[in-house]
Symmetry: C2
Subunit: 121 residues, 2 copies
DNA sequence: TTGACATGCAAGTAGTTACTTGCATATCAT
DNA sequence: ATGATATGCAAGTAACTACTTGCATGTCAA
């Protein structure tokens, strides 16, 4: 008995990026934006339907936008959601990282105590 | 018949971040680093075992490090892998984003053509 | 030493995900 | 018009994920 799952923007975004095939599609579009479905199929070892479904996930996460040209579907990257990941997740933890680096440096200079292993006094 | 799934570092990392409960744990640790398992359990509406398993995924992705103090298991954030996401995924697409902003600005100033919707001539 | 606390390990399960196959539809070129 | 191309939609399935329950183990405090 699971409770219902959240479907926030962040969820769609991280879920979309959690598959190596989808990340590969992002990479291929980064190398050459605006490719058709058939073109993108060449890079992945699966059926066209599989690729279609992966692209649909990327679209749902707003990482890829499509534009029709006749019978062809062109795919374009939208880098904005990635920036949101940075703002929400990377930059927030950046301070912590620099702080940890500082502590490491300091403890190395002082020569002894590991900053994480201080006793409970 | 699936082929075997990749288990690269990037995969562990994105998979770890793809669950809202695990992201919540990261947030709680960000607010207060070094909490025990029992403390972290208070924030999530699931059994201790569920939380344990989520923390194990974060550990496997190297996002959380543990340290034992008697019978208590303390959890500490490691922000370094997040930086790797930035280097590999965000910064790479940053140029594209700025470029798109520039094109948008230009096309707004010129007043007419949407840069993505140019005809095939 | 005993009981309460903090945690681990193993097995079971419902729901989700990542595919597949098969068929239908629209567009382009001749 | 006809065939080749580009794609969509629906249903089926194996593997995976996110949990749960039950029991075992180690540590602390009186």
């Amino acid at each position: 008995m699971h409770i219902i799952r959240s479907v926030s923007d962040a969820d769609l975004l991280f879920k979309a990026l959690s598959d190596p095939g989808r990340r590969k599609l992002m990479d291929r579009l980064h190398a050459n934006d605006g490719q058709t479905l058939s073109e993108l199929c060449r890079y992945l070892d699966m059926t066209r339907q599989g690729v279609t479904q992966h692209l649909a996930v990327l679209e749902a996460a707003n990482l890829v936008a499509v534009q029709w040209r006749g019978r062809e579907k062109l795919h374009f990257l939208n880098p904005v959601p990635l920036q949101e990941i940075y703002d929400r997740w990377i930059s927030k933890f950046e301070r912590l990282r620099l702080q940890a680096l500082g502590e490491l440096k300091r403890s190395l200079e002082e020569g002894s105590t590991d900053p994480k292993r201080r006793s409970k006094t």
